[in-house]
């Protein structure tokens, strides 16, 4: 299987190609730049490195969110359009799960999260076991404080992993103390190769139905619903 994987869900961008199901090329960039400018040149670069062309692909993997709305749409439009036009399957995977998969061999709870502003996060709870990653609590958009309080009920170590920033470090330590382990250095950056490996095990999504999982309604829609339900 030759797989192209794309993640542009947050500031870091990661793209990878598996050739015969083995990682052939991967590029992760973590700078504040526009994914719309970076993505296709990066994809072209890894195709060249892997000595493959788009026609050699069997599968495309893409992170479906949560994350930056614009970032998600750039990656998903690219993945979706390419899969459609090459007539190959596309698998969408949670961007949180992709990040949690960095700790696949840790045999413990993993809490990936992204800043969602005003004290909120996009997060979920995963469990790494025997080289597999399983979802324990669904991805959601919640206040970090109340989320951490929920996690206090778990008696084991939770590894916190976030590519965005460290603004919640203090709060995590305050709420969970020694129960929390915050992943540092480059282990907290997304790797598209993990996305590709996860995709090999999953069912594809019908291409036309593929859309980002924003985990948050557009404000105008939320307001409209509120007004029209109260009537």
């Amino acid at each position: 299987m030759n797989v192209l994987a794309i993640d542009t869900s947050n500031q870091p961008m990661s793209v990878a190609i598996l050739k015969d199901s083995q990682l052939a090329a991967e590029l992760t960039v973590n700078v504040k730049r526009n994914h719309s400018i970076q993505l296709m040149p990066a994809v072209d670069y890894i195709f060249n490195q892997a000595n493959l062309t788009p026609k050699d692909l069997n599968l495309i993997a893409v992170s479906e969110g949560p994350g930056s709305y614009t970032g998600l749409r750039i990656g998903m439009t690219t993945a979706k359009t390419m899969a459609w036009t090459l007539n190959i399957p596309v698998v969408a995977i949670s961007s949180l799960e992709m990040l949690a998969a960095n700790l696949t061999y840790h045999n413990s709870y993993v809490c990936p999260f992204f800043d969602a502003r005003r004290g909120n996060v996009f997060t979920g709870l995963y469990q790494a076991q025997n080289g597999q990653i399983a979802n324990v609590k669904d991805d959601l958009n919640t206040s970090m404080e109340s989320w951490l309080e929920q996690l206090q009920n778990i008696d084991e170590t939770v590894h916190f992993i976030s590519s965005t920033n460290h603004q919640f470090d203090e709060l995590i330590k305050e709420k969970l103390g020694a129960q929390a382990n915050i992943i540092q250095h480059s282990m907290n950056l997304p790797r598209a190769s993990m996305l590709a490996h996860l995709a090999l095990e999953r069912e594809p999504t019908p291409v036309h139905a593929l859309k980002p999982q924003y985990h948050r309604m557009v404000e105008a829609e939320a307001k409209w619903l509120e007004q029209n339900q109260s009537r």
């Binding site: 400018i37 026609k55 998903m76 359009t81 459609w84 036009t85 859309k211 924003y214 105008a220």
Partner: protein, 336 residues
């Protein structure tokens, strides 16, 4: 095999229409698919950019599939992929731009970035060949521009709005009259029933200028409505609509007429969403009937946003091999 120079697959997502089309040689439309989000934005009283972007990504491949199927072509037959690069809503444009790059890259085809307004002008070429020099009046919700062209792909803006676009003034006045969104067609419809009794100002700006200004008119209408409501006087909605529309159209027609005469053009193209306006069409026809200038107004389905017009404009760039690179980005404030 079809006899052709080139086939272009075009994409347009600058506002609230997800559109794809296949155009042959810049003049022949093989398919033109438009998925409109009109009813989705209607309840918000205007286009909500994030909502528009979310719908674009859901519609994109559906619309593309329909466009190639209706044109009865495959990607192998396509010579280039064209896309609206700007101006427009950035989140909306991004879906089209990234879809275009993905298609082009997957098949090793060139991608061409197109200016939305160039598209509106070139919509006409799907109906009637250009005759240079030509003048184009582009009127829409976002634009009011007079563009002079001596040859294909060369655009000179000789006049533009200094504040609101004509279509924007229509929408704001419609809102002040509590008419449903989009307001333009509503006002045009009501204006057929009324009389120009309110005598709103006509803004011609300084002598010899081809620029436009509609915010003063919009304010005059809103102030008048406010005044009437305060005095408890009855508002004749039809007459307000007629009076407002007459003011807009007088200025549009007069300035376009003067520019056409001064620049000695052979053809006048009226383009953009507002060129669907019945009164504007009729008045332009009247004014230009006695002249040597050929008036060209595209049929309604080519006036509003569509991808066929983008494919038509891209044909010219294709022949110049004016291709974009893989880092093509959406450019919401793209200059012509």
């Amino acid at each position: 095999m079809i006899e052709k120079n080139e086939l272009i697959l075009a994409i347009e997502t600058s506002c609230d229409e997800t559109a794809a089309a296949v155009v042959q040689d810049g003049t022949k439309l093989l398919s033109n698919v438009v998925a409109t989000q009109m009813d989705i934005h209607q309840k918000f009283g205007g286009v909500v950019p994030e909502v528009a972007s979310r719908h674009h990504i859901e519609q994109m491949t559906v619309v593309l599939e329909q466009a190639v199927t209706e044109a009865n072509v495959t990607m192998e037959d396509i010579d280039a992929v064209a896309v609206t690069e700007g101006p427009g809503l950035v989140g909306a444009l991004l879906v089209g731009v990234n879809a275009a790059k993905a298609l082009a890259y997957a098949h090793g085809k060139p991608v061409i970035g197109v200016h939305h307004i160039a598209g509106h002008i070139y919509a006409n070429r799907l109906e009637k060949e250009f005759e240079f020099p030509l003048l184009s009046l582009v009127v829409s919700g976002g634009h009011t521009e007079l563009i002079y062209m001596e040859e294909h792909g060369e655009y000179e803006i000789i006049g533009e709005t200094r504040d609101d676009a004509a279509g924007e003034a229509y929408d704001k006045v419609a809102k002040a009259l509590s008419l449903p969104y989009p307001g333009g067609p509503q006002i045009d419809r009501l204006a057929q029933e009324g009389k120009d009794t309110y005598n709103f100002p006509r803004s011609y700006l300084e002598e010899g200028s081809y620029d436009f200004s509609f915010s003063g008119l919009k304010t005059a209408v809103i102030n008048k409505l406010h005044h009437l409501r305060q005095k408890g006087e009855e508002i004749d909605v039809e007459n307000v609509a007629t009076s407002f529309q007459e003011s807009v159209i007088d200025v549009l027609v007069d300035k376009t007429y003067d520019a056409a005469k001064d620049y000695g053009v052979k053809q006048l193209i009226v383009a953009g969403g507002v060129s669907a306006n019945k009164t504007l069409r009729a008045r332009m026809e009247q004014r230009f009937a006695e002249t040597d200038v050929e008036l060209a107004i595209p049929p309604l389905y080519l006036c509003t946003d569509n991808a066929a017009m983008i494919g038509a404009a891209a044909s010219v760039e294709y022949h110049k091999q004016n291709y974009a690179s893989l880092n093509l980005n959406a450019n919401p404030g793209l200059m012509m």
